[in-house]
Symmetry: C2
Subunit: 366 residues, 2 copies
């Protein structure tokens, strides 16, 4: 398991099928035990074969970020799709949503009176076929209205002919050290307040949707009815460093080769350079991260710099530098952006390549 199969050329994204299946099953069981529905975010993997595993394990449907991602998964037979995004819908987007609603149950997000009105007008007769969840800001301060304004947006959506189903939020502030527990609390309070406001305004609130990977297992089934974790299928270096997964849970790594090696002298650092850079690892680096990803089999090493096709990996004085030509495995900081860089991934089991999966929704940004 700790080696790169001989028939892989580097850099290459590898998915360990057995670890993946274990992650899928474990999250499904944990969420079921809490009495919540699981609607995993498919933007993480963009792969129909993985969506099928999630649905087999009991997911009620999928979450996606764009109409384009929804189209890909609908083509692959997914029957219930939530575009968890405050869409701005013009005529061309309305036509695509209308077509989508003929093959799947479709729900979308909205966070303003203006966007809800525009969407309803563009959809016309089809508006009643689209469910809307009002996006609430639970402390991440990205999109979403403050909970006290959720009812106003819901009334605009209903007035525009859309079916209001509930509220959702993304507690992005959970992606920081020490924050998962606090963020999960903020999330649940914001969702409860917004859901209560909608119920008070006469809406039948059937969906109250939350849950990032860091906060999903901390969510209690109070007001919340469903969670939308994404990263849990693969894990990544951020989740490792946040303590939300263990090294043995990492299902996706990037195979790379040592192309340059320097023992260092004076101010020149002791390092290797590998042939995986930001064009396959992704360039995300939160301020609290230790580097631009980690080496799976060299926890003592730090990826101190990333170019497009180079990662510079610095080793402490005591540790041997891997040899030139040696192959190593990189754990990306943010697995969602790594997968989005490649057309397909190698599927590995027991140290052998057993197949390839196409990243069918790669690049579907609109």
């Amino acid at each position: 398991m700790n080696t790169v199969p001989d028939d892989i050329d580097t850099p290459e994204i590898m998915v360990d099928r057995d670890v993946l299946q274990r992650n899928v099953t474990r999250m499904a069981e944990a969420v079921r035990a809490k009495g919540l529905a699981l609607r995993p975010h498919a933007k993480t993997h963009k792969i129909p074969e993985i969506a099928a595993l999630q649905l087999e394990a009991g997911a009620v449907g999928l979450t996606v970020a764009t109409i384009g991602e929804a189209e890909v998964f609908a083509e692959h037979g997914v029957a219930d799709l939530f575009i968890a995004y405050p869409l701005w819908v013009g005529p061309r987007q309305a036509e695509r949503l209308r077509a989508l609603s003929e093959r799947a149950r479709v729900s979308v997000g909205t966070d303003s009176v203006e966007a809800a009105a525009a969407m309803g007008a563009a959809l016309g007769d089809a508006a009643g076929r689209i469910e809307v969840l009002v996006e609430v800001d639970s402390g991440h301060h990205r999109s979403g209205v403050l909970p006290g304004r959720a009812a106003e947006v819901a009334r605009a959506a209903a007035g525009a002919g859309l079916r209001v189903a509930g509220v959702f939020t993304f507690p992005g502030q959970s992606y920081a050290p020490g924050m998962p527990v606090e963020a999960a609390g903020q999330e649940q309070r914001a969702l409860a307040e917004a859901a209560g406001a909608l119920a008070g305004a006469g809406f039948d609130v059937t969906r109250v949707s939350g849950g990032s990977t860091p906060s999903a297992l901390l969510t209690e089934s109070g007001a919340t009815t469903e969670v939308r974790p994404g990263v849990y299928v693969f894990g990544d270096a951020q989740q490792l460093e946040l303590g939300r997964c263990e090294p043995e849970d990492i299902a996706l790594t990037i195979a790379a080769t040592v192309v340059s090696r320097h023992e260092g002298e004076g101010e020149v650092p002791r390092r290797i350079v590998i042939d995986a850079g930001s064009k396959v690892i992704g360039g995300d680096r939160p301020a609290w991260a230790t580097g631009f990803g980690r080496l799976a089999d060299h926890p003592e090493a730090l990826i101190t710099a990333l170019s497009e096709h180079h990662a510079t990996v610095v080793f402490p004085d005591g540790a041997d530098l891997p040899a030139l030509g040696e192959r190593v495995r990189v754990i990306p900081n943010h697995v969602c952006v790594a997968v989005n860089l490649v057309d397909d991934v190698a599927v590995v089991s027991g140290g052998e390549v057993v197949g390839r999966w196409r990243v069918a929704a790669r690049g579907r940004n609109k």
Copy 2:
């Protein structure tokens, strides 16, 4: 020019053909005036139509980062390709280099005795068809040997049957405020020392290759014979903030729509959210940058956070927030990684879409 054409759905990468042509011509003329050869780095655009413009303007050939990129441009008729990367060549890579050398003049990088020996052994009879340039570390401390060791690597390459043509370096330290002039000096000294060492060891040094976009126009034709700038074709927010290009030189922007808008209150920031995130802008953010890119028509705004499909844009108190549904243009921090995220780009001239170009070498990481 400052508006997004109506027939574009967002997010979408747009290339202004007229600005691009001006950038291509200007760099070609400036480099020619210095008596240097121009070998632009095609990893920036990965687009055969742009490579053709560069060659028409007088480029002697192209630089690429991977064998896969070289294969794409060779298929499109480019006859002289430099893979400016310290390749680790096994049997499969050797087979591809051999095939490539039958349709183009091919040169590659190497930075160690071990890699040069491995490459020569894997190439066998074909070794003499491949030119090698020894990579030198001129202060970036990524790949490359220190100049004093270049001759040792050159001897190993020659001993392995490869044709040694000279030396190259990448002054990556030039991508920081105040550094272009200093980096260009370090680059020229390192190249001169390494080229001198090779000549002293009896090699016929025909190529001495340097030059990032920040340092290319600062390079003097002393020891240096060619430069390899890449970003200059498009410009980007990094080059703007480094003072290496002007706003009117920006040839590539990302069209985006305002999907969420918040006047702010208390600790909640005054902001808009647009539908272009790291999956189309790219996540690069050097520590010295003001944010995750800039808005082309709102220089006062800062992109303070980037998710996969959201950019959070904060405006100062005095400035009006763009309206919901309004379309804006984003200048990415690092244009090379933005282009690599999409399969094609919209070509714009005079405010109209005049065509589409395929990013033919996208994702060719190996």
